[in-house]
Each structure stands twice: as structure tokens, then as C-alpha cells.
């Protein structure tokens, strides 16, 4: 196994009519618009180049890629010269050789000759080009140089050494074209030209978001990973899938032995096309963090210290406890939680263990607290519980409606693609209580920002629909062909009622009616309309209703069933789509088939060799209620931290405390582990084989590049538990689990590791009807048959502001941290976000005498915590905002147990609160910290 090296064709792929030309005596046919450089590369001829790379637009500055064209004077740059029919091109001649050598000589005259000790030695395009042009001497010895320029080590992950810079602008162009941040520029002129982060600032203090695109684009050692400087060049690599957000970026894990040197975004990754963000690219140090637990541990009571035991003892103890509990309290007294951070195969096994081994359907997953309304709403209206498009679809969108999502922070690689499309002219509508970055950032400005009051999504979407219907902007032909016309008519009559007009709903949403009208007209008439949404839609008491209303709006305007349109839930965790697909919900088998469906149950009873329950099991909040009630006593939690991530912390911890055997399988002693009796150390995504499914239903391989530090991959641990329970499992490799999934689940019928090896990835449904998968769903017809319009009345949440709690708290996440922070807090990403802050509008701050950075108490009817204030007009008056990345803050002690009517997805986004001065951490926080310290003690032998 060697290093995977993608071919760099120098310039981008073109899509014109075929053109035939001759290069160095060989005939080649390429699309019109292709550069001579790319045409030559397709013949296997590498024309020397430095400023060109095929992820960027051609620039033509380095003058190394010159060629001769018969009948044309001069030596044009091959990167900026398009092919023409009948051209005869020469890439090598005495004149070209001399020119290139002269250019290289000038470059090298201002470049340190320290190749042997340079970190890029062996991976330096400048070095390669010096060799390619046959440079043997540099005659310019005493001129001015930049060799004494100072290094910038401010970024925790990469170094900037301007002494090695050749000012090719690749980094600047990558930041602009690929990432869309425009943090870099070439400052100065002539000899003084230099790469400048911001206004000649350090990288860390500039606008740089540390995505790594500049590092990847740099042809020298000017921008280079510190891990490469420290460890040397990698010697082999494997393609795997990021374990952070739902974009599912493909990376090359570049290794030395079993040591990860760096993660480099894979150009052929079909979700990310070679781009990355700060988390996937750099924040993998948690995998070897000193706090990682690698030995199983047990204890009798959660106040006891942990005792390290063998795997056999831990598994034996767990199963003995579960059997004891079931014998005493009944078969339905235990259950399991699957992880959206684990693989498809691992989640499949956990739900199989629960259904076949525990003998009940008490299995749930963290999608309960994020996108369960998506599953419900899209299945009801369209027929399947998933987004309709692939990410490439955004390249054909004309109008993009982003509602309740913050892609630049939550799904940054998709955000870069979106911003690129917006720079090309697509229009943007943002519906969000906060002025998120997309509303206005370099070269991107939303046509409309609809800053709605938290909790009024349904009123807003109904108002948009009201305009579509009353102004006859709907697509009648589409509706008549694809949907039930009678249901549409009934719905249209409903939304046309004056109470749904923008003017009437303005009192609820606080969004000016004129803005809503203009936004609706733009979405309905602006060409391909695409909706992207996130947890700002789902995490409400009307989360499912909003998803349904979004589907209504998309169907009414004919924006489903082709590229460029659609309904796109931006999934939070890397495998939240997959964990839902794999039957993690208590009412559904894999493939979203209800447990009461006899034919489906027969398939699994036959495959698994046991009788299965036809009754839905407990959802996570119901498990905790039942625990407090006294009928639910044992829980196997794989890779979730419900004590930090789930709402109403007091209720969660009371439920956990009421159980007799809580088993946590994780990398670290997380907050939930403080209430656990068994700790089974888990493995990282670098230590396992399997697959993840991203937000676009794309199934991608996860490949093991190092031995699990804990001794086992997570699926092996579940298998050991099953066998000890007396339910036999004997998988030798996750590919066998996928084969079983394919045998039992129609939408996965064609999926196999062999297919994934061949295609790189595949989007479900993948079966006989779609052997290579389904990038766009509902083409030609909805999965359920006719698209279903459903009436969605706005119902105000029970969570009301009042004199005691006059402000509305909404929660979210930021770019550098991920979910509960268990991974990212154990990386250098903490330099960007050391603590959760409360964003508060200047007016609300002034009313309370709060200054920027002050410690404040945040209090709701559920609880209180303390954190520091950040005064900003990104939030509207009356609205405050915070993140939930840090356990010390524990923002979820504030959130309540109110939830979505259909799915019990918590209402994280609306909590009535009061903010007041504080002297520091609250009494509860101090107790929580003490409890954590006590419960994390490990007994030494």
C-alpha cells in the first residue's frame, strides 16, 4: 500500500462540444473550453506548471507552462489557452526549455536551498519543476530576496513561511474560489508582493477559518501542516470518511506506519470534491488524546470509583446485570441507544441486539433529538425519510432558501459550494432569528433575511405559501401530474385564508410582511428553487409540522424531482442519516418499515431466527420517563452523551440515576458516564471498517488505518454482548453485516463493499431499479405515489415568555466545535472557542447593565447556569443565543422537556429565559463539576 496520489490535470474539466487537436504528435479529442494543459495531461504529458492546479481557475502567472502552437506566434501559457480544432501543439522545444529554465532560475534565486531539511522534501512542486526543467545553476546571487521573512506559527495546525513563497497565488485563489472566505490577498506590488492574511495580520487573528484549502493548494513548503513538519512525509494512505458533520467529506488518511500524519481531502470524494473544514482536516488529535479510555471498567454504584477489568469480565458483568434486570422487571425493562457517530454496520448491530437479543423494540438514536421530524414529515408527504438531492444539485439552483440552518458553521464544506453558486448569481433567502454569516459575507449577500421570532417557523412558511397560492404562483401542471389535486385544493384553501397572510402573521413572526411577500415571489418564480434546512426547523414543538409545510411549499412550486431544486435537510452528525436508515427508531426496522408490518417482520424473523415484537418501543425521552417511573432499569448507550446533549439535564440525570445498569461505550468518560455502571471503551473512525451515510444518502467507506487502542472495533463489542446474551452473532467483517442489510432492506439491496470499492460511493435507493444509486429522488413520481399536501396550522408553543422569563433562548453550534465537544474540545480547536458564550442584543444587555464578557446567570423554568455574555446585534432584541459544546456551561440544564408533537424531538430552539448578573459558575455547576470529578475516579491496583 502506497500513497494515493490524484492526477492534477492543471485546469478544470470543461463541458463543450468535442474538439480534436494534436499535441506532440498525438491526437486527442476533448470538450471545447478545455485548456491545452489539461488536454496534454489527458495524453499523459505533464507540462511544467506552478500556479495551475485543477481545483482552481486558470491564472497564467507562473509562465512555466508555455507551449508553441503551429501557425501562432509566441509561446502562450497552456493553462489559459483553450484548445481549438486542428491545433498542432508542441510542449517541448529548445526555445521552451530555455524559457522555462530562465523562469525557474528566477524563482529559485529567491527561495531557500534547504531541500534536504525542508518539511516538503519529497512533496514539493517547486522541487519537481526544478528537476523537470533541468535547472542546474542559479546565476543571481547577490540580489534582494525574501529569505529573511519571518514565519507565522499562529495557526495551531499549519505554518506559514513566507521565505519559501513564490507568490503563485494558489493559496489566495483557493481561499476565494474553493472556500469562499477571501481571507488572503496578495498585498504590495512588484518585488514587494506577498501573501497577506487579512491586513497583514497573523493567520490566527485574520478572517481565516482554517479550512486547509490554502495549505493543500500550496506548491511549496510555504503553507504546510505542522504535523508534517514534526513527523515527516507520510508513506501510505487510505481513503476514508470524516466522522464529523453530515456532509461526509472523503479524506485520505496519510500515515507513517500506524501514525496518522495528516488528513487530506480526497479530490474524488463525491460529497466534498477535495475540500474540507477545520474539523475534518485538522481536528483528529482526540483519537490519541491522553484522556481516552482504553480498558473496560465496572462499578457497583455511580459514587464508586471505576475498576478496570478484562473484556470478558466487563461483557459478562453487563449481560448478567441485563439478565437480572429482565428477570426482575420484565423483558421491556432494558434498551439501547445507537450512535450517529458510529458506522451503519454498528448501528444495525445495536438495533439487532435490542430487537433479537433483548427481545423488545426499546432502541433509539440521537436523531430523536435532531432530525426525527425530518423522517416523519418527509415520509408523510413524499414517501421517504430523506433529503431529495445530492450536494452537486446546488450548482443548478437559482434560488436557495436556507431556513433554520447555519451552513458556514454547521456544514462548512457544503456552505463553500453554496457560496460559490451564490457568487455565480443564484439568489439567497435566509430565514433565521440570527443574522448568520450567510446573510452578509464577502461576495455573498442574501436577497432577503427573514429574522423570525423563534418558534414561528410554521407561521412563516404558511405565509410564504399564502403568497404562492393567492398570487397564483404555484405550478399547476406539476401538481396535477405529481400530487393529489384534491388534497392540494384543500391545502390551498387553507393557506389562502387571510389569517395566514404575511400581514396577519407579522404579529407572530415579527418579519415585515413586504419582505415575506418578496421572498415568496422570488422562491416561486426565480427558477430552480432549493430549500436547505437544519435543526432550526426540527427542534421545535412543531418541528414535524414545519418539515411538512416545507414539503408543501416545494411541491406547490414544482421544486421537487430534478437537479437544482428539492428539500435538503442538513444532517447534524456524520451518520445520522445512516443510523435512521439502519432501524434505530423504536417503531421501525431498517429501511423505515414499521415493526407492526407483518411482511417486514417476517423478513427479519427469518434472517435473525427469532420471533420479534410488533409493538413500538420506547423513545429516548420515554425511556427516561419510564426509568423515573421505575419500569426501565438498564440501558446500553453506544457513542452518545445524552447527559450533555439532551434537553432538561435534571430530568436526564434523574432518569439515568434511577437505572440499575447504565452501560456507556465511548472514547472518553463523558457526562453520561458519570451515571454509568459499566464503561466499554470504544474505537475511533480511524480504527474501524464500515460505512457512513451522509445527508445526501451517500454511503461511503470508512477504512481502518490503525489498530483499535481499546482492542476492538465497536461492532465487535456489540457482537460480544450479543453472544454473551445467548443470541449468536459471528460476523468476521463489517462487509458481512452490509450483506445482511442488503438482503433484508430493499433500498439497500444493491449495496455491497465491492460496489463501494468500484464506485467510491453510492446513494440509496440502490437496488435492481437503480443499480448505481439515486442522486435525485422523486424523479418522475413520488416514492409514495402522489405527493401529499397536508394542512399545517400554526400552533404557538406552550413555552411562553413572561415577566419571570422575558427572553427567548435559542441554541446552536459554531464552526470549530462539534456537538457536545467530546472530540473537538480535545484538539487545538479550543483556540477558537474556549467556552460557550451567551449572545445578547445591546438593548437587552443595556437594560440589565451587562457588559461584554460579564459573567451572567441564564435561568429558565428548567434550571440555571452561568456563562459569559457576548453583546452582538446578530441576535434580535428579545432573543439570546448560546452553544452547547462545553459541559461546564451545560446549556441543556436550561432547555425544557417540551417536544415535537409527532416525534418527541426536543424544543431546543425555544426556551423562555431571564439573564442577570452573576459572579461566576453557579452552585449547580460547582456541584456538577464535583460530581464529575468524583465519578471519574479510576481505582488503581
Amino acid at each position: 500500500m502506497g500513497l494515493i496520489k490524484e492526477t492534477d490535470f492543471g485546469t478544470k474539466l470543461a463541458a463543450g462540444a468535442p474538439v480534436t487537436l494534436t499535441i506532440d504528435g498525438q491526437s486527442v479529442t476533448v470538450p471545447a473550453g478545455t485548456s491545452l494543459m489539461r488536454a496534454a495531461a489527458l495524453l499523459g504529458t505533464q507540462i511544467p506548471k506552478l500556479c495551475a492546479t485543477d481545483s482552481l481557475d486558470a491564472f497564467g502567472s507562473c509562465r512555466l507552462c508555455l507551449v508553441e502552437i503551429e501557425g501562432r506566434p509566441g509561446t502562450p501559457a497552456s493553462c489559459t489557452t483553450p484548445v481549438a480544432e486542428g491545433q498542432v501543439v508542441h510542449t517541448q522545444s529548445e526555445r521552451l526549455a530555455k524559457l522555462r529554465k530562465g523562469v525557474m532560475e528566477l524563482y529559485i534565486s529567491d527561495h531557500p536551498l534547504d531541500c534536504l531539511t525542508c518539511a516538503a522534501n519529497g512533496d514539493c512542486e517547486l522541487q519537481d519543476m526544478a528537476g523537470a526543467v533541468g535547472l542546474r545553476e542559479v546565476r543571481y546571487e547577490n540580489g534582494a530576496t525574501h529569505l529573511n521573512a519571518s514565519k507565522d506559527d499562529s495557526n495551531p495546525y499549519f505554518q506559514f513561511d513566507p521565505a519559501k513563497c513564490i507568490v503563485c497565488s494558489r493559496c489566495v485563489r483557493a481561499c476565494a474560489e474553493v472556500q469562499g472566505t477571501f481571507a488572503l490577498t496578495i498585498a504590495g506590488a512588484g518585488f514587494g508582493s506577498h501573501v497577506s492574511p487579512g491586513m497583514d495580520e497573523a493567520f490566527l487573528s485574520s478572517e481565516c477559518v482554517s479550512c486547509g484549502a490554502c495549505v493543500q493548494a500550496c506548491p511549496t513548503a510555504t503553507l504546510i501542516e505542522k504535523s508534517v513538519i514534526e513527523q515527516g512525509q507520510p508513506e501510505h494512505s487510505a481513503v476514508t470518511t470524516c466522522a464529523y458533520c453530515g456532509v461526509g467529506c472523503a479524506f485520505k488518511a496519510e500515515m507513517r506506519g500506524e501514525t496518522l500524519v495528516r488528513m487530506v481531502p480526497y479530490k474524488d470524494g463525491q460529497a466534498n470534491h477535495g475540500h474540507s473544514c477545520v474539523k475534518g482536516r485538522f481536528a483528529w488529535g482526540y483519537a490519541t488524546h491522553k484522556e481516552r479510555i482504553t480498558k473496560p471498567m465496572i462499578r457497583a454504584a455511580i459514587t464508586d470509583p471505576w475498576r478496570e477489568v478484562s473484556w470478558a469480565e466487563a461483557i459478562g458483568h453487563t449481560v448478567a446485570e441485563f439478565k437480572r434486570i429482565q428477570a426482575k422487571y420484565g423483558p421491556e425493562s432494558i434498551g439501547g441507544i445507537t450512535s450517529s457517530r458510529c458506522t451503519n454496520e454498528e448501528t444495525y448491530l445495536v438495533q439487532k441486539l435490542v430487537r433479537a437479543g433483548f427481545g423488545n423494540n426499546n432502541v433509539d438514536t440521537c436523531a430523536r433529538v435532531c432530525h426525527s421530524p425530518t423522517g416523519y414529515g418527509l415520509k408523510l408527504t413524499l414517501g421517504t425519510s430523506a433529503g431529495t438531492q445530492d450536494f452537486d444539485s446546488v450548482e443548478q439552483a437559482d434560488v436557495v432558501l436556507v431556513i433554520g440552518a447555519n451552513p458556514t458553521d454547521g456544514h462548512p464544506v457544503f456552505a463553500s459550494r453554496l457560496k460559490k453558486r451564490l457568487r455565480e448569481g443564484a439568489k439567497l433567502i435566509v430565514a433565521d432569528p440570527r443574522r448568520i454569516d450567510l446573510v452578509r459575507s464577502p461576495h455573498v449577500e442574501a436577497a432577503f433575511h427573514l429574522p423570525l421570532r423563534p418558534g414561528t417557523n410554521v407561521a412563516l412558511v404558511n405565509a410564504l405559501a399564502h403568497v404562492v397560492v393567492t398570487e397564483t404562483l404555484y405550478d399547476e401542471a406539476f401538481i396535477r401530474a405529481r400530487c393529489d389535486w384534491d388534497e392540494f385544493s384543500e391545502w390551498a384553501e387553507f393557506v389562502a385564508q387571510p389569517r395566514h397572510s404575511p400581514e396577519a402573521t407579522e404579529t407572530l413572526t415579527t418579519v415585515p410582511a413586504a419582505l415575506v411577500r418578496e421572498a415568496a415571489r422570488l422562491y416561486a418564480t426565480g427558477g430552480n428553487g432549493a430549500i436547505y434546512y437544519g435543526l432550526g426547523v426540527t427542534e421545535h414543538s412543531q418541528g414535524s409540522t414545519t418539515v411538512i409545510s416545507i414539503a408543501n411549499l416545494a411541491m406547490a412550486t414544482g421544486n421537487v424531482g430534478r437537479p437544482g431544486v428539492g428539500i435538503n435537510p442538513l444532517r447534524g452528525q456524520n451518520n445520522v442519516q445512516g443510523s435512521c436508515d439502519m432501524g434505530s427508531f423504536p417503531h421501525e426496522f431498517p429501511g423505515y418499515r414499521h415493526v407492526a408490518d407483518d411482511s417486514t417482520r417476517a423478513i427479519f424473523e427469518s434472517a435473525w431466527g427469532v420471533a420479534l415484537s410488533n409493538d413500538p418501543g420506547l423513545r429516548i425521552p420515554n425511556m427516561l420517563d419510564a426509568a423515573i417511573e421505575g419500569s426501565f432499569k438498564g440501558l446500553y448507550i453506544q457513542g452518545e452523551d445524552i447527559a450533555q446533549s439532551d434537553p432538561d439535564t435534571h430530568h436526564i440525570t434523574a432518569g439515568l440515576s434511577a437505572m440499575e445498569c447504565v452501560v456507556v461505550q465511548d472514547l472518553f468518560l463523558n457526562e453520561t458516564a458519570s451515571f454509568a455502571h459499566v464503561f466499554l471503551p470504544g474505537s475511533t473512525f480511524l480504527e474501524k471498517d464500515g460505512t457512513f451515510t451522509n445527508a445526501e444518502r451517500r454511503i461511503q467507506r470508512v477504512r481502518k488505518v490503525m489498530t483499535p487502542r481499546n482492542g476492538y472495533q465497536d461492532w465487535e463489542i456489540t457482537q460480544m454482548l450479543a453472544n454473551e446474551m445467548g443470541y449468536a452473532m459471528s460476523y468476521a467483517h463489517p462487509s458481512e453485516i452490509m450483506d445482511e442489510i442488503a438482503r433484508t432492506t430493499p433500498s439497500f439491496a444493491g449495496v455491497s463493499y465491492a460496489l463501494l470499492e468500484d464506485k467510491g460511493s453510492v446513494q440509496w435507493p440502490c437496488n435492481q431499479a437503480a443499480p448505481e444509486g439515486t442522486p435525485t429522488m422523486h424523479v418522475g413520481g413520488f416514492v409514495r405515489g402522489k405527493g401529499k399536501f397536508v394542512i399545517t396550522d400554526y400552533v404557538a408553543t406552550d413555552e411562553k415568555t413572561g415577566p419571570r422569563f422575558p427572553l427567548l433562548l435559542t441554541t446552536g453550534r459554531i464552526l470549530s466545535q462539534y456537538n457536545v465537544g467530546a472530540q473537538t474540545r480535545r484538539t487545538e480547536n479550543t483556540v477558537w472557542h474556549e467556552e460557550d458564550l451567551l449572545e445578547i442584543h445591546p438593548v437587552d444587555a443595556e437594560d440589565r447593565g451587562i457588559r461584554n464578557g460579564d459573567w451572567i446567570t441564564l435561568k429558565s423554568r428548567a434550571g440555571e447556569t452561568s456563562l459569559r455574555a457576548k453583546i452582538t446585534d446578530r441576535v434580535s432584541p428579545g432573543v439570546v443565543y448560546t452553544t452547547f459544546h462545553h459541559p461546564l456551561t451545560q446549556a441543556n440544564v436550561i432547555t425544557t422537556d417540551y417536544s415535537d408533537w409527532a416525534t418527541n424531538c426536543p424544543e431546543y430552539k425555544v426556551t423562555a429565559v431571564q439573564v442577570s448578573h452573576s459572579n461566576g459558575p453557579s452552585e449547580w455547576q460547582r456541584r456538577q463539576r464535583e460530581h464529575g470529578a468524583l465519578s471519574r475516579r479510576i481505582e488503581t491496583a
Binding site: 459514587t303 421491556e332 434523574a654 440515576s657 396550522d793 408533537w901
Partner: protein, 83 residues
């Protein structure tokens, strides 16, 4: 006595307050209020998504008078399976 000090035999006798289930059932009812067969839809939703302990609990609450439950829910619960 804190929960963590409680022995298995001393499991809380407390039953979950019905308020949460009452609110959930009424929420479901509100969503289906425009449906021509609202009661059947409400019952179908509860049968499909609520575990039998929850169904039994809400049915027991109805049998005890059903305070707080709206009329549609009361009617719908006649079609809910106790498990």
C-alpha cells in the same frame, strides 16, 4: 435519599406524571384537527409511536376521568390499543 444511593429494591414508586402524556396527546390532536377522520388519525399515531406503557398510562388516565384531555383525544383513545 439521592437517586444514586437508592438500592434496586427501593426503586421509586413514583409514577410519571400524566401531564406530559396529556400534553403530547393534545398536541397530536391539534395537528390532526383539520383531518376529516381526526380521531382515527390520532389513534393511529399513538398506536404507531407510543410504547405500550405510555398507551396504558393514558388509557388509565382516561378511565380515571381524563382530566386535561380534549374531546378529540378522548374519542380517539377508544381506538388505542392497550398493548
Amino acid at each position: 435519599m439521592s437517586p444514586e444511593q437508592r438500592s434496586p429494591e427501593q426503586a421509586s414508586p413514583e409514577t410519571a406524571p400524566p401531564e406530559k402524556l396529556i400534553r403530547m396527546a393534545n398536541q397530536i390532536s391539534t395537528f390532526f384537527q383539520h383531518h376529516p377522520e381526526a380521531e382515527a388519525e390520532i389513534a393511529s399515531h399513538i398506536n404507531a409511536f407510543w410504547e405500550k406503557r405510555m398507551r396504558r398510562q393514558i388509557l388509565a388516565h382516561l378511565a380515571a376521568g381524563g382530566a386535561g384531555l380534549n374531546e378529540r383525544v378522548r374519542t380517539a383513545l377508544r381506538q388505542v390499543k392497550p398493548g
